[in-house]
């Protein structure tokens, strides 16, 4: 009997597994004839290769001598040349790590500001009751749709009158004022899913609202905060328009400005070094992407954030 039951149990398990798979991916999971499946993979691989080719070409070009770059379509350098990185690093006023550090300063403060101010606002919207909450929430969602250029001129005037031009303050301070509605929305969505009993228990234990927020809710929001941090990192690291507007002093340039300056001054003759610095500038994004894929993809699926 036992022998007979065992396979049956296995079969049941298998069936259950299959059903689970079907649930995970609607329509028919992993079905189709092998030929069909193969052709699907082939198409996806070809499209994927076309997607990655420009990036791979950039990386490979950064290791080729400048003269070879446009003569070879192939990705594998015939003559490896590491001097591109050395040359590119020192081609501008300052060595390239100065610009990396500049960008890092802006990025770190932006992340801290965004997480803290947006989490505070989200907690109020998601878990507190007060007059005007709904109205404020609607207003917050309204700013989500407002094109930034409408505010541009007056904000520039304010910053220049505060004497903030040629400092990082115009790039950092707005992040401490929860001006990025996307992240508030993301955290509101996340906090609403946490059980209300947590707040009640904390209250009974004598926690005030701020302690409840800091000790109970915030630690549970780590995934939402990670998403915010990664997205803030990527968008701030890439940001070109703000620094272009507010930073004139070359020593204060962030990475995108430095790259553009590079193109203006040397780009025509020094392909190799320029591509090398391009690789340096996007490497952190790719690194963060690999480390935080799960959060990124869930984050974008939640809010439609770019």
């Amino acid at each position: 009997m036992a022998l007979l039951e065992l396979p049956a149990q296995h079969k049941q398990d298998k069936k259950r597994k299959q059903r689970k798979q079907e649930k995970n991916s609607p329509e028919d999971a992993l079905t189709g004839t092998p030929a069909k499946r193969f052709s699907r993979h082939l198409i996806l691989c070809l499209v994927g290769l076309a997607m990655l080719y420009p990036l791979l070409w950039l990386i490979s070009s950064s290791f080729k001598p400048s003269n070879d770059i446009f003569r070879q379509l192939g990705l594998w350098p015939e003559n490896w040349d590491f001097s591109n990185y050395e040359q590119g690093w020192t081609a501008l006023n300052q060595p390239f790590h100065v610009y990396l550090i500049n960008s890092l300063i802006v990025v770190v403060f932006s992340i801290v500001g965004n997480i803290f101010s947006c989490a505070l606002a989200a907690y109020a919207f998601a878990r507190m009751e007060f007059t005007g909450r709904k109205l404020f929430f609607a207003l917050m969602l309204g700013t989500l749709m407002l094109p930034g250029h409408v505010l541009l001129v007056p904000q520039y005037i304010i910053f220049s009158q505060l004497g903030w031009l040629d400092t990082y303050l115009p790039l950092i301070v707005p992040n401490f004022m929860a001006t990025n509605a996307f992240f508030i929305f993301l955290m509101v969505q996340f906090m609403k899913a946490l059980p209300q009993e947590l707040d009640d228990a904390a209250q009974i234990d004598g926690c005030g609202p701020f302690r409840t927020f800091l000790r109970v809710i915030l630690p549970l929001c780590v995934p939402a905060m990670a998403t915010t941090a990664i997205f803030t990192f990527i968008s701030t690291w890439n940001e070109f328009f703000g620094p272009l507007l507010y930073i004139q002093n070359q020593d204060l340039y962030t990475v995108p400005l430095a790259l553009r300056a590079f193109m203006d001054s040397e780009g025509q003759s020094m392909w190799g070094p320029m591509f090398a610095m391009s690789v340096v500038s996007i490497a952190p994004i790719i690194g963060f992407f690999i480390a935080g894929q799960k959060y990124l993809i869930n984050g974008i699926a939640t809010t439609g954030l770019k």
């Binding site: 079905t31 997607m51 505070l120 001129v153 005037i157 070109f240 996007i282």
Partner: protein, 317 residues
């Protein structure tokens, strides 16, 4: 704009994977007025920083402000001047062509790939990541510069065409082709709408398809009658977000043309021209008027979308 604020987040919320629960009301919610406002304090400051510039910008749109002397009220003069400004009309044309070509193509590609990926293929995570990565990089200066060289005269695109004996055009320096390279760049970043489509497709209950295949409905029929209506709110959401993003393109045009919008103004995006007017010619009043025209254009397109959506967007509840 008010319609927008009500509906689009609804569409986003439908996608929510992190959310789920409805807000709980009643006794258990904290009802402490003062601490609610205290938590919102940074946000209130931020709103001051949004609302004051919002109205200031509206006022400046009717002045000739140049940053150095007091603004004079000039009525509708800025708006009148806009319609006689050939560069402004050109920048509108560039932005519209860019938007109306690249947004539909990238949404179609995103949906198509999402449908294929949703078939439960092995290696889904890898494909998804590979397709998504470009959309994180698309706006960076490095990639736009790279694009400039890929499509350059001796770039790899023409090198590739040369294999087949085709003499490719001077993509970057020919006014007829310069914008199309940026359209290709924008389509290349289809990954972010694709991820949203994938999340939406996951939420279509599989029993609908089971029932349909029992009834003998073909694949195409199932797609048209089940998938399409059920993900229409997501298509709509993606459409709105891509439109708004595309109308605001700046970096691509700036870097590609070295700040000029050339050749022959063929990559003079609206926001690039706004930047030139405001921050190289210091016509802040004119730039503000331009910003308001853009706001109105976006609002009109969004409104049209919302009205049209009544006929094709299907809400389950």
């Amino acid at each position: 704009m008010s319609v927008l604020t009500k509906q689009a987040p609804g569409a986003a919320a439908a996608l929510a994977t992190a959310g789920g629960g409805k807000p709980r009301r009643g006794s258990s919610r904290r009802t402490n007025q003062r601490s609610g406002y205290l938590f919102l304090l940074p946000w209130f400051l931020g709103m001051l920083f949004t609302i004051i510039p919002f109205f200031a910008s509206l006022y400046l749109a009717f002045t000739d402000y140049n940053l150095f002397t007091e603004p004079n009220f000039v009525g509708l003069a800025n708006f009148q001047a806009m319609f006689e400004d050939p560069r402004l009309l050109q920048s509108l044309k560039v932005t519209f062509v860019y938007t109306f070509v690249s947004v539909p193509i990238s949404l179609a590609v995103a949906l198509l790939i999402a449908l294929v990926l949703n078939r439960g293929l092995q290696g889904l995570a890898i494909y998804r990541s590979v397709y998504y990565l470009p959309s994180l990089l698309g706006g960076s200066v490095a990639i736009v510069m790279l694009w400039r060289y890929i499509f350059g005269n001796d770039g790899i695109v023409n090198g590739f065409l040369g294999i087949f004996g085709i003499q490719g055009p001077a993509w970057v320096t020919d006014p007829e082709f310069a914008l199309s390279t940026l359209i290709v760049l924008n389509v290349w970043t289809f990954g972010s709408p694709m991820v949203i489509f994938l999340a939406g497709l996951r939420q279509v209950p599989s029993m609908y398809y089971e029932a349909a295949s029992i009834d003998g409905a073909s694949r195409w029929r199932q797609f048209r009658s089940i998938t399409l209506p059920l993900i229409s709110p997501i298509i709509f959401f993606n459409l709105i977000m891509q439109l708004i993003g595309s109308f605001q393109t700046f970096t691509q045009g700036y870097v590609m043309s070295g700040g000029t919008g050339g050749p022959a103004d063929s990559t003079l995006f609206y926001n690039l021209y706004l930047y030139q007017k405001g921050f190289t010619e210091f016509e802040m009043g004119y730039a503000s008027a331009m910003a308001w025209l853009l706001l109105m254009i976006i609002a009109i397109f969004t409104a049209i979308n919302f009205i049209a959506s009544k006929f094709w967007v299907f809400y389950d509840n």
